[in-house]
């Protein structure tokens, strides 16, 4: 009788101990677990990344275990070519990163996980390996053009002029040979707004016989070269910008569809302003690529615009700017339509 009782008690104890042990023992084998850094992702409203600073040593692998706790998130390192990882809820992903150079790297979420998705940033502080010979110091990267030019990217930038009918870049191509050399320089493109360029070309005596519309066609041609850059820009726009700025650049993205001015947007950093309509010529024709670059790198402008500086590299920013201008200079098929009468240029703080 007593033996049976003790067997029964032993069984209950054993099963309970097994249940508790399996549930609470740390994951994986101890040797591995010590080296793996676990990084949990939650929607920003619920806390975002559970760590916003990770530490690594240059040249030494950083093993990460990425876990999404709610919806689909992504993980990528800014300004790096490595493709991002998708993090499905409940399906942990392991990855190993090795940074060749010390520095501060930004990691961020690549999936539109919610209205505050773009807030899901963190940094990886990579220190030099102890005892490593100090690396030859790189020449410091030049300041972005908008800072060199001292542009106030928060100021309104209404277009000084706009075409009566949407310009056609393809027609402008035939005029390329007549353009003065300065107008075809990269510097002129970067520092001029399309409207500014048009005004300057209008004052050129050599172009006096071209009509206003022909000049606009030429400007459109300058702004939409080369095509590969536009294509690269479109990809970035689709993954990073479209959710707010909308399919056609009209500022009607899905993240803002239900935006009402009465809602409290303090969580979005004070206020959230509907982005401008890029298809309105008075918006983009007044903005130089340098100005747009500033807006993209720094973000803000009193809107919910994120800062992309730590995420997009220079080429990517240049490409996305090229793509943006296609909203002002539509492709040949849609070009025949007359340009919409511009709205109120002053109301737009910026893209």
């Amino acid at each position: 009788m007593m033996l049976r009782e003790w067997i029964a008690r032993g069984l209950v104890t054993l099963l309970l101990a097994a249940a508790v042990a399996v549930a609470l023992l740390p994951a994986g084998d101890a040797g591995q677990a010590a080296e793996v850094v676990e990084l949990h992702a939650r929607m920003p409203e619920n806390g975002g990344w559970d760590r916003t600073v990770l530490y690594a040593v240059a040249g030494q692998p950083l093993r990460l275990r990425l876990v999404s706790e709610d919806v689909v998130h992504g993980f990528a390192i800014g300004r790096q070519a490595t493709p991002g990882l998708d993090l499905y809820p409940g399906e942990p992903v392991e990855t190993t990163l090795t940074f060749a150079r010390p520095g501060t790297y930004t990691f961020y979420c690549t999936r539109w996980c919610g209205a505050n998705h773009w807030r899901m940033h963190g940094v990886i502080e990579v220190s030099a390996a102890p005892g490593a010979a100090p690396l030859a110091t790189d020449t410091p990267a030049p300041q972005p053009l908008y800072l060199q030019l001292g542009l106030d990217i928060d100021a309104p930038h209404p277009a000084e002029a706009w075409p009566a009918v949407a310009p056609v870049a393809a027609r402008g191509a035939s005029l390329a040979g007549q353009l003065p050399a300065w107008a075809r320089s990269r510097e002129a493109y970067l520092t001029s707004s399309p409207a500014g360029m048009w005004q300057r070309l209008r004052t050129e005596a050599s172009l006096g016989r071209l009509s206003d519309q022909q000049l606009w066609d030429a400007v459109a041609w300058i702004w939409t070269q080369p095509a590969q850059e536009i294509q690269a820009g479109e990809e970035i726009y689709r993954s990073d910008c479209l959710a707010c700025h909308g399919q056609e650049g009209q500022g009607d993205g899905v993240m803002l569809r239900d935006l009402s001015p009465l809602e409290d947007h303090t969580q979005m950093g004070g206020q959230l302003v509907r982005p401008p309509d890029f298809s309105d010529p008075s918006v983009l024709l007044g903005a130089s690529p340098a100005r747009l670059e500033g807006k993209i790198l720094r973000g803000g402008m009193g809107t919910g615009m994120p800062y992309w500086g730590p995420i997009l590299d220079d080429e990517q920013v240049a490409a996305v700017i090229r793509y943006l201008y296609t909203f002002a200079f539509p492709t040949a098929e849609s070009a025949a339509a007359p340009v919409a009468v511009p709205g109120h240029p002053d109301s737009h703080g910026g893209p």
Binding site: R4, E5, A18, V22, D70, P89, E91
Partner: protein, 460 residues
């Protein structure tokens, strides 16, 4: 005596005054297994460990509901099994392996298999005022108020399960017999109610043998406080088999029987039971609306615990389950009673017809479960493979697929069949409990309206 049924079922089958019965205790292997304490003890030890594991998985496992063992096992696997298998086939069979009362019982009697201290009769009596199904109904409705969050939040599920385990322990240590199961367990209430449908019953074989047995050993050992001779239906019996093990005269049987046998003979139903039955009808409809309905706003409100929209939802939920559905039934019963010409007080009339709601409620809950849970069974493999979200793939279960069964095509048919069967059962019982068609009509209208509402909610 129903002589028309062919008696081809062997020596253990019998035709009593209640119809066909076959005693499972006389089936050689089953009989040994049911009498021995070991199989049941092992199952209970496993369910207890499983319960503790589930609590821990809920509290510390993945925060994503569809990947958390606690959510999937409690609300999809167990909850569905309870309503689709245990209750319709085994009545209170789940109660016979449920771990909840065991820790207190083992502690109180100082042993698991051997008993050193006074048995189940020890402890305080449960207060008379708190008897009946009222607290169980309240508990079930209380869970319903937070159901949207509980069903999706592993943490809350973990806390709820832990609270239930502790409550069962404390109540079990303080009060006699299975006070928690009898008066508090939110599941026990409707399990007992719908167990009447099951094709399984524990009953005495020969009433005369009991009448002459003065010791009443069965009653002394019954953890539920049931005297088997007095059993008229399955509601109170937890199928623990203690009476079978204790009876010196071998006068107990675990019978297979035609389903719904308890519903054949009209009996008075306690008001608490009728209320529970009506609350179950109301909550099946509410759950169907919240979880399967097309109303996003309702879902959000049910989810936003503590907010104003949630308060409105809570008021609506309680209004439906406590006021509207019971109120309508009282109204229709009063109407029926006017036509019956019997002139009974309303309470008596309700006690007489209340039982007819059981097939309706059981069918509604089964139909809801079929709609709600079948499509989610695929998650079970995933949480079996990786119950703690550690990236495991135990038994290679991650790859298991339910894809072979096209459930979407089968579900509406099953739902309609279940609801119609429930309506037919209710109609049959109403006919047996009312004098004439005019008296039956209002109650039939009530059942028809409810069935149509459920059809609308579940099938559209």
């Amino acid at each position: 005596m129903k002589a028309s049924i062919p008696s081809s079922s062997g020596p253990a089958a019998a035709h009593t005054s209640r119809g066909w019965r076959r005693d499972l205790l006389r089936v050689p292997l089953a009989g040994v297994g049911l009498r021995s304490r070991w199989p049941q003890f092992l199952l209970r030890a496993i369910t207890l460990a499983g319960f503790v594991f589930t609590i821990l998985a809920g509290l510390f496992g993945p925060a994503v509901g569809s990947h958390n063992f606690a959510i999937i096992f409690v609300w999809i696997a167990w909850w569905s099994a309870l309503k689709l298998v245990f209750i319709p086939l085994g009545g209170r069979a789940w109660c016979s392996v449920c771990p909840l009362p065991m820790p207190a019982e083992w502690l109180r009697r100082g042993g698991i298999l051997s008993v050193r201290r006074p048995g189940p009769g020890a402890g305080r009596r449960w207060p008379r005022r708190l008897r009946g199904r009222w607290l169980q109904a309240a508990g079930f409705l209380g869970l319903g108020l937070a159901s949207a969050v509980t069903l999706t939040s592993p943490r809350l599920t973990g806390w709820v399960l832990l609270a239930v385990l502790l409550l069962a322990l404390v109540v079990g240590l303080l009060f006699e017999r299975r006070a928690f199961c009898n008066y508090l367990c939110p599941i026990g209430g409707f399990t007992g109610l719908y167990a009447q449908a099951a094709p399984l019953e524990l009953r005495v074989k020969d009433r005369r043998v009991c009448a002459t047995h003065a010791e009443k050993t069965c009653y002394q050992v019954c953890p539920w406080g049931v005297y088997p001779l007095a059993l008229q239906d399955n509601t109170a019996c937890g199928l623990c088999m203690e009476c079978v093990r204790a009876c010196p005269l071998d006068n107990l049987a675990l019978n297979l029987r035609p389903p719904g046998s308890d519903w054949q003979t009209p009996r008075r139903q306690a008001p608490g039971e009728t209320f529970l039955s009506l609350a179950m009808l109301g909550s099946a409809a509410a759950y169907a609306a919240v979880f399967l309905g097309p109303w996003g706003g309702l879902k959000s409100a049910a989810y936003a615990l503590g907010s104003w929209p949630w308060l409105a939802y809570a008021a609506g939920f309680l209004g439906l389950t406590v006021v509207t559905v019971p109120g309508l039934f009282v109204l229709f019963t009063a109407w029926s009673e006017r036509y019956s010409g019997r002139g009974r007080p309303l309470g008596e009339a309700l006690a007489g017809v209340g039982a007819a709601l059981s097939p309706l409620g059981l069918a509604a809950w089964m139909a809801f479960t079929v709609s709600f849970a079948l499509a989610k069974l695929g998650y079970v493999a995933a949480v079996l493979a990786d119950p703690l979200g550690r990236g495991w793939n135990l038994l290679g279960a991650r790859g298991w697929s339910w894809g072979a069964v096209d459930l979407a095509g089968v579900v509406p048919g099953m739902v309609i069949a279940l609801l119609l069967a429930g309506l037919a059962g209710a109609g049959h019982m109403i006919a047996a409990r009312t004098p004439g068609r005019r008296a039956a009509a209002p109650l039939l209208v009530f059942c028809l309206l409810y069935t149509l509402a459920m059809l609308w909610l579940l099938v559209g």
